[in-house]
């Protein structure tokens, strides 16, 4: 977790990347990975509907960007975004989604069965690699519900609720994980079908400095399928 935070710090302070830039690239990778693993034609729902659950921090921001690109790729995303930071970045991302007719649910579907009926896929953009400590409401109930759905879950960077290094055996079991920048330790406990790497922006010098040993991305793709 500390290494991931250190890399981020360097990208912002030394390389002068803006959060906006990296979040845009990260969100695009997530949408691209999802489109590769779950093409619209593979959905059993009549439309390729996706529920994107966004948390209160940067992981939620990644989710908003992802939702927007999913819309451009022909999906029908719906967002649930209960705790919105008071910052221009997140307000902007929200506006972009709303202006693209992406609905924002006023409340979370009460039952797992309802989610299964309405959506073909759920994107977990609740907590990322900075997550520490106990899960507070409303996310605790949300995660309980998500643990009971049968449609696949695609988690952004870390399955929400998992310990960033040790995982969580009785927690969320996503079908897909999109690791951003580099897989975190928790990824070792990932048991789903699809593990993608996204966030193709780490300069070679940083990769070496932190001995990331990332496999090469194919050509100009912004995602790499690891499993």
């Amino acid at each position: 977790q500390e290494e991931a935070q250190a890399i981020d710090q360097e990208l912002f302070t030394e390389y002068k990347f803006s959060v906006d830039q990296l979040m845009e690239l990260a969100g695009l990778s997530c949408a691209t990975a999802i489109a590769k693993a779950y093409p619209p034609s593979s959905f059993t729902t009549s439309q390729p509907t996706v529920l994107v659950v966004c948390g209160p921090g940067n992981n939620g921001g990644d989710g908003l960007v992802c939702a927007r690109h999913l819309k451009m790729f022909g999906y029908e995303p719906t967002v649930y975004y209960p705790k919105r930071p008071n910052k221009p970045l997140f307000e902007g991302l929200t506006t972009q989604c709303q202006k693209m007719d992406i609905p924002f649910l006023p409340e979370f579907p009460a039952e797992a069965a309802l989610i299964d009926e309405l959506y073909g896929l759920v994107v977990d953009a609740i907590f990322g690699f900075s997550f520490k400590g106990a899960v507070r409401e409303p996310f605790s109930s949300i995660l309980s519900t998500l643990e009971r759905i049968t449609v696949p879950i695609a988690s952004i960077d870390i399955p929400s609720g998992w310990d960033v290094e040790k995982g969580k055996a009785d927690g969320l079991q996503p079908d897909m994980l999109i690791s951003l920048t580099a897989p975190k330790k928790a990824a070792m406990h990932f048991a789903g079908r699809y593990h993608f790497l996204g966030g193709r922006f780490v300069p070679a010098a940083l990769q070496e400095k932190y001995a990331l040993n990332l496999p090469p991305y194919p050509e100009t793709d912004c995602v790499l399928q690891l499993t």
């Binding site: 030394e14 390389y15 002068k16 990347f17 803006s18 830039q21 845009e24 690239l25 695009l28 949408a31 691209t32 489109a35 590769k36 451009m72 790729f73 202006k99 693209m100 007719d101 193709r200 922006f201 300069p203 070679a204 010098a205 050509e219 100009t220």
Partner: protein
């Protein structure tokens, strides 16, 4: 816009041993897009070099410059007027000098001198959005002749005069209602691609 400035430019097809590319950046937004493009080219394992004589004071664009510098992308201090030097050192030139916003930019230094040199090079030019120096609507006679044009968001009027080998549209971010409002009729992007090739007359 920066996200979409990657281009379809096959690495194995380059004639020189090192995949060197010269990215010439103008003073405004088109130049900034060139900086972002150079950074992504570096990530794709090309060896870009940048010529950016007149740097924008905009903090966002200054950060783009820092990102490139920190990624060991060299910045030339001058552009050789001897075209053979450029032909020999690079496989292609990315023209990010002037975009659709430029009006009288062509006449002003250092753009005029840069364009004069670029008119005579033999290696392919890839122009971002508008071939620099062309009138954005009427096109140009006697201006540079790029081999590849990457129209951003939608082709500009002058693209009709484009005679090069490949025309791409990039910048897959226009919401549907904006497309309708301006009657853009953009082509369909395949799958998750952020670039789509248009059919050229040739």
């Amino acid at each position: 816009v920066p996200v979409s400035s990657r281009q379809a430019f096959p690495l194995p097809s380059l004639p020189r041993k090192q995949p060197t590319v010269l990215v010439v950046c103008g003073p405004a937004q088109n130049g900034a897009i060139g900086l972002v493009c150079a950074r992504h080219l570096r990530i794709f394992d090309y060896e870009p070099t940048i010529f950016y004589p007149k740097r924008s004071p905009d903090p966002l664009y200054r950060d783009f410059t820092t990102q490139c510098e920190k990624m060991d992308i060299p910045f030339l201090s001058y552009l050789p007027t001897e075209v053979q030097l450029i032909n020999d050192a690079y496989n292609a030139v990315v023209d990010a000098v002037l975009g659709a916003e430029a009006e009288a930019g062509e006449g002003r230094e250092p753009c005029a001198a840069i364009l004069a040199t670029l008119k005579h090079i033999r290696i392919p030019i890839v122009s971002l959005d508008v071939p620099s120096g062309w009138d954005v609507e009427a096109g140009s006679s006697g201006g540079i002749s790029p081999e590849v044009l990457v129209s951003l968001a939608a082709p500009k009027q002058c693209a009709r005069r484009f005679l090069g080998r490949q025309h791409f549209v990039a910048g897959r971010f226009l919401p549907y209602d904006v497309q309708k409002k301006f009657e853009l009729n953009p082509p369909e992007y395949p799958g998750t691609e952020c670039v789509v090739a248009l059919r050229t007359p040739r």
